[in-house]
Symmetry: C2
């Protein structure tokens, strides 16, 4: 049953859905918090300005996973990364950072790295491809730091081959350029590289990881690296206003996500491959990358964004299934772009049903 278009509220329709092609299941706050309460041991007490067992033990667990001396929990990756780059470039007295043109610092942080830290950015390579060694070798200015993002989110979670990655890391070290890893989605690289997280992290001086994406935490991030850098990062964390009196809701949810979901990366990745094989068979769909290298892919749908949005609501009403989280303009006007990340909820959608869901979507959008 499909309601008149003008009466439909996308948020309500979404909440009424019981199945979701992307990500994890969402819950009302009451459920999230009461489930979170259960994860705390009866004798666990709060942190205090970054000290206390709950936060210290989790920092140590992540430092160990990443093979780094030390780690600090912060409210956000924005804070972790600006701070890491400030410290690394001050060590080298060159306030200049090279990164991919779609780097989070340069695209989603209101240029905080410039306005708060007076760092200069150098965009390397094409926004539509991975950064290459020859892109880097073409640079002509001294660099304080090089930031790499694994996987490269804005191009569908692409990953360089291991040899390309180690070659870039070696090159940077020869040049005495510090290396920082934007590992917002590092957990999702494991099936592709088939290596320990510590082995990947060893290519970088500092590593930022996130807990609210594939791990499903409420928010929160960790910066890991040498002990002296992390000690200094705590000073900058206070300057940023991120040394909160209590961070435990984020720490507990990060800890829970890490314990529960880290072991699911292989199955998320396998499901992404399976769904991609179904989607790529549609002439209306282009995938980037195809096949996916992580549990993420970008979908380019040849059609009209407004019609697709309405058709998504039709599918939601008819099948109780929410397909796509956003529809954005693509470089080619004939296409609409979206991102699909495989999570817990995706695993519950039979792969063979994905074909019929998209057939219905394209029919409702007049794209069949």
């Amino acid at each position: 049953m499909i309601s008149p278009k003008e009466e439909r509220d996308p948020n309500q329709l979404r909440r009424a859905c019981t199945r979701f092609l992307g990500g994890h299941y969402r819950q009302p706050l009451r459920q999230i918090l009461s489930a979170l309460a259960e994860t705390a041991e009866p004798d666990e007490w709060g942190d205090m300005y970054g000290s206390g067992d709950v936060i210290a033990n989790f920092e140590q667990e992540i430092a160990q996973t990443l093979g780094k001396e030390a780690a600090v929990f912060m409210p956000s990756g924005t804070m972790c990364q600006q701070i890491a780059l400030r410290i690394l470039t001050e060590q080298r007295q060159i306030p200049r950072v090279a990164f991919h043109p779609t780097c989070h610092l340069d695209t989603h942080e209101e240029m905080g790295y410039q306005r708060l830290h007076h760092l200069e950015g150098v965009r390397v390579g094409s926004p539509y491809q991975l950064m290459t060694m020859s892109n880097l070798q073409a640079l002509r200015e001294p660099l304080g730091a090089l930031l790499l993002e694994l996987p490269q989110r804005e191009i569908g979670g692409q990953l360089p081959a291991w040899e390309d990655l180690t070659a870039i890391s070696d090159w940077a070290r020869e040049q005495k350029i510090a290396t920082h890893l934007d590992g917002a989605r590092l957990w999702e690289c494991q099936p592709f590289y088939g290596r320990d997280y510590a082995e990947i992290a060893a290519l970088f001086d500092t590593v930022y990881v996130s807990f609210y994406k594939v791990l499903g935490g409420i928010a929160g991030a960790i910066l890991a690296g040498p002990a002296d850098v992390i000690a200094q990062a705590r000073v900058w964390q206070r300057r940023h206003g991120g040394n909160l009196v209590q961070l435990f809701p984020y720490v507990l949810s990060a800890r829970q996500g890490f314990a529960e979901r880290l072991g699911r990366m292989e199955s998320y990745h396998a499901k992404a491959q399976a769904i991609a094989a179904v989607l790529t068979a549609f002439p209306q769909v282009e995938l980037v990358p195809d096949p996916p290298q992580t549990n993420m892919m970008h979908l380019y749908l040849r059609g009209d964004a407004k019609k697709l949005a309405e058709a998504m609501l039709d599918v939601a009403e008819e099948t109780g299934t929410w397909l796509l989280n956003f529809l954005a303009p693509a470089e080619l006007p004939a296409y609409v772009k979206t991102e699909l990340t495989i999570g817990d909820a995706s695993l519950d959608i039979p792969t063979e049903e994905v074909a019929s869901l998209f057939t219905l979507l394209f029919k409702q959008a007049g794209m069949d």
Copy 2:
């Protein structure tokens, strides 16, 4: 029964206490979170990078309470205040801020206002007294902003008379100096001034308030002010790494503390007065201020810090009562300094018993 000193763990002893002279009752994380879950309506869903009903409605409630056009919820006061001062001083193109010598920005934030925002600080007046009009009139440099803290925490929560406060605000406006209120403990001023919060806040361009102090939230702060300033503050919040994907645990606990505890300020204040009257009768005790003007006071105890610390543990073991949260050096070496803030737990200690508790404390410390 008092255990051998070397076997005592202050943290364990504190947790074993059932009564606390200062502040609110503390709970393990499991209890805090399950109680917090109950405060959420069954159909309340999370925020997303600062948007969503739960956060927007609370921001509006606080804006209204403070009589300001707009408000933004941030993780910390450190973030609120640096951002407010950056915006206000940029408007006036004078990156210089005057504040009391004990100002939080200048004493507890690793000089973030200098290192992140390149603001210059001007310390006004004595660290041991409230800032006066003549202190301000003696300044000889142009100022972009003036920050006042109400109450002045580091001198025991002192408050200027209403006429002195309005005179300073009028002076600043005449001089075209922006005014910002550090209202970390603004809620606690109400009994002293007997005026609406909006009337106090009207003396300032921007106001920061906190939710984890007397209101007992987990963490979190709000900056309120003109709509254009708050809109700009949201941009800076993102730069600081404070525009978190989800802030709901802090928002819900702030909302709960605001609803439950705002009406208790009069009783906290009355209890502070009553306890102060008992304490000031001891020759070993000096109070600042005497009598207290809010629910807070500073205690100067004439004695030895180590002996007092052990005596506190004796009292905790004998009576199950935790007396003081810290013991710090004072200007005069013969004294030890501490802070007493009246909260829910304090209300449950009969005032007449305070005398016997301190008599025991001083006896155990050899200060009787």
